[in-house]
Amino acid sequence: MIQWVELSVFVVLFLVVTVMGFVASRWQRGGGLDHLDEWGLGGRKFGSWITWFLVGGDLYTAYTFVAVPALMFGAGAMGFFALPYTVVLYPIVFLPVLRMWSVSRVHGYVTPADFVRGRYGSSLLAFLVAITGIVATMPYIALQLVGLEAVLRTMGLNGTGIAGHLPLLVAFVILAVYTYQSGLRAPALIAFVKDILIYLVILVAVIYLPAKFGGWSDIFGAASDKLAQPSPATGKPAGSILLTGNNQLQYITLALGSALALFLYPHSLTGVLASRGRDVLKRNMVALPAYSLLLGLLALLGYVAIAAGSKPITNNATGRPDTNTIIPVLFDGQFPDWFAGVAFAAIGIGALVPAAIMSIAAANLWTRNIYKEYIHRSATPSQEARQAKLASLVVKFGAVAFVLFVDPQFSIDLQLIGGVIILQTLPAVAIALYTRWLHRWALVAGWLVGMAYGMYLLYLIPNPAANRAHFGGSALTLDKLTIFGWHPFAGSQVQIYVGFVALVLNLLVVVVVSAVLHALKVGNGADATQGPDYHADEGSKRLRPVADVLTH
């Protein structure tokens, strides 16, 4: 049944955002949009406020807002890893991000792979980093669609077959067109609306809803009771409101691994490189945790949904209940219709902002590190910009095709894999900011080993609750950890995050192979960067003018 009031509010807010998306091309305009610095990085001049909204809108996506409470709803305390993840994130990335900004600004780098190319003079290593970034980003975009569709289906647009996906398709065509036209300025401007709506909705939700269900004490009581019930599929409790002896290590390594991974994603760096200077970034590292507070509060709404007795909606396209609808269902049942409409618009627009930035980041990678490197070496800046605009369309429609023709569960699995594989670029992208001791061929070897081992371990993980034998999650029981058939922790039921294990092995390989290659005096490529490049700030003469002709 279609919820007309909710849908009307949603459509009105969506139209406002659409107009803003088109107007954005004229906003803070520099020298036209036919250069990647302009289309792909918004002119590299965003100040503190815009950066805060843009990066906040980029990192805290609709999918996060839908999936984290859903995880709490299904598994309990484990889902709360999102809070430590976003608390340790900023102290960890504070220093490397500043170095990345400076060196990129001096040399005109647009992507992390550009930096690797300059640092090691290796187009192969840059290619691996670019491909990893694109592959990890694609399912992430698809997941934004899953978040958007959860909202649309809750509002009653829950048709079967292709017709059921039509509203999603319409929303995405609009997004694709204004991103094509306005580039990064579109999500930057829309992020203001998105974040204000999200703050409003979540503050109202965490004040109003707990009181309605007898306060936090009753809510935690209800959650504890429900999570303790044995699951019909496994006969074991689904979770608990505290960590157990077996999942504490998973909680720690997942929080740490996710924090290390986040700024390796190309879309995070796009937000960083679009800012004006180092102090803008530093101020943002202080102010961005405001979103973490919000995310923690939102996570607790998963328990509120338990207390409210919310039931996930069955997705008519797949025929299975979709736990990602749990927060929309909670809002639908507990808020007046008009405010539920506002809440849904917040989640819906919350999907558009990161989807736009991610598609721009993937398009930049394609253009700078594959098209320009291998297909059209003499491409002019305006040819690059045109190529990137087209690539952003391809990326977005690829993501739509994913949702239309493939089970959404597949996107979720791929995003899980994405987190594991993007971590494998940490030595080449993040450690290389500090030292060139790691040898370029060692980085290639470590990447290969980390990738292969990570995928192998993910393959080993079953999910009995979903009746799947492989790729059932990111929590590996140490019992299953194997190195060429050797089980160092046989019998242990303690769980650990796969990405972390793969990264440790990757680092080991990189260090050992580097030592060997240095001993054999194998050449380590040319370094286009110099020491002071890593500290250059706005106003410095070292900076390359924005929208300058880029040379590789």
Binding site: Y434, T435, T529, G531, P532
Partner: protein, 89 residues
């Protein structure tokens, strides 16, 4: 280009050590308990919220202490050898 091998421009400020403090939040046994309950919320949950301001304060102090540490100097090109002084303006 091998001469550029040491060209990472590494600089150090002791204030940076403060950035390690929030990592203590990852020691789950410290807070994995129900008691003491606050406003009906188990310790596990409300104590982790307290780490948000801890993280903010640590990053804020490092920001204030390293403000303007970037290289503005127009003659920066000539000063490659002076890098380790961490020139504070």
């Amino acid at each position: 280009m091998a001469a550029r091998e040491g060209g990472s421009g590494f600089r150090w400020s002791p204030w940076n050590l403060l950035l390690l403090v929030p990592l203590l939040m990852l020691v789950t046994p410290w807070f994995n308990s129900t008691d003491p309950v606050l406003f009906g919320m188990p310790f596990f949950y409300w104590s982790q919220f307290l780490w948000v301001p801890v993280g903010v304060v640590c990053v804020l102090i490092v920001y204030l202490r390293t403000k303007g540490d970037g290289e503005y100097a127009p003659d920066a090109d000539e000063r490659v050898d002076d890098l380790d002084e961490g020139a504070r303006r």
